[in-house]
C-alpha cells in the first residue's frame, strides 16, 4: 500500500483511504450523500439512483484528489497506518493529528 493515488493521479478509493478521509467526506459531500440515501429510501432499485450515485462518486473522488494534492505525504502516511491497523482509528492517532494539521479544513 504505497500511495493513495495511482501514478496518473487518480485517487484509489480503498477502504483505508476512505476511512482515513471519512471526516472530510462526511463534511464536504454531505448533500450528495443525503440525496443518494433519500433516493435509495424511496426505491432500492440500483438503476433508479444512478444519477445521484455518480454525483456521490464524483464528489468523493474530487475530494480525495484535492486532499492528496495539498498534503500527499501526510495523507499517504495516515492511509498507510489505517491499512496496517485495519481501519482502527485509535491506533493511528499520531498520523491523524499530523493529517489534520497539514490539510487545513478551509480551502
Amino acid at each position: 500500500m504505497a500511495s493513495a493515488v495511482d501514478p496518473v493521479g487518480n485517487p484509489i478509493p480503498t477502504s483505508a483511504v476512505l476511512m482515513a478521509s471519512s471526516k472530510r467526506i462526511g463534511a464536504r459531500c454531505r448533500s450528495e450523500n443525503a440525496a443518494f440515501l433519500n433516493c435509495k429510501k424511496n426505491d432500492p432499485n440500483p438503476e433508479k439512483c444512478l444519477v445521484q450515485g455518480r454525483e456521490v462518486t464524483h464528489c468523493v473522488l474530487n475530494l480525495l484528489k484535492g486532499l492528496h494534492q495539498r498534503c500527499s505525504k501526510e495523507m499517504d502516511a495516515y492511509a498507510g497506518c489505517m491499512y496496517y491497523h485495519t481501519n482502527e482509528f485509535d491506533l493511528c492517532r499520531k498520523e491523524q493529528q499530523e493529517f489534520e494539521k497539514a490539510c487545513s479544513w478551509s480551502e
Binding site: P13, L18, M19, S22, K23, I25, G26, C29, E32, N33, F36, L37, K40, D43, P44, N45, P46, E47, C49, L50, Q52, G53, R54, V56, T57, V60, N87, F89, D90
Partner: protein, 143 residues
C-alpha cells in the same frame, strides 16, 4: 549411684524415709492467670464502614461511567466514518450491478426469445418493490 546415696537424709534407716523430690509450685504460689475475655471495642464504627464501602463503590462506578463515555466516543467515531463512506461504496456497487444486470438480461432474452409471452427481466414477485436478484451466485467471478 543410687537415689538413696544421692538424696539420703542423715540418720536414715530405710528408703521410705527419703525426702520427697517433687515438682511443685514456687514458694508463694504461681502468679494469677487471666482467663476472662477482653475483646477490644475500638476501630471504625458500622456507619464508618458502610460509608467507606459506599464511597468506594460510587467512585468505582464513576470511573466506569467515564470509561464508557470514552468508549462510546470511539465507537461513534467509527460509526460516523462508516456512515460517511457508505453512499460512495453503494454507488460503486450499483454501477457494477447495473452493468452485470444488463448483461444478464441480454442473456435471458437470447435464451427465451422463442418462448411466447415471456417478459425479459420480469420480477418474479408480486409486491411491486425491487428485490435483489436471487439467481444463484451473485458474483461468480469472485467465488
Amino acid at each position: 549411684m543410687t537415689e538413696a546415696m544421692i538424696r539420703k537424709k542423715p540418720g536414715m534407716v530405710s528408703v521410705k524415709e527419703m525426702p520427697v523430690l517433687q515438682d511443685g509450685p514456687p514458694p508463694g504460689g504461681f502468679p494469677p492467670v487471666r482467663y476472662a475475655r477482653r475483646i477490644p471495642n475500638k476501630g471504625p464504627s458500622a456507619v464508618a464502614i458502610f460509608l467507606t464501602a459506599f464511597g468506594a463503590f460510587s467512585w468505582g462506578m464513576y470511573q466506569v461511567g467515564k470509561g464508557n463515555k470514552i468508549r462510546r466516543a470511539l465507537k461513534e467515531e467509527k460509526y460516523a466514518a462508516r456512515a460517511a463512506i457508505l453512499p460512495m461504496l453503494q454507488a460503486e456497487e450499483d454501477e457494477r450491478f447495473v452493468k452485470e444486470w444488463k448483461k444478464y438480461l441480454e442473456e435471458e432474452a437470447r435464451i427465451m426469445k422463442d418462448v411466447p409471452g415471456w417478459k425479459v427481466g420480469e420480477s418474479v414477485y408480486h409486491s411491486g418493490r425491487w428485490v435483489p436478484p436471487a439467481t444463484g451466485e451473485l458474483r461468480p467471478d469472485v467465488w
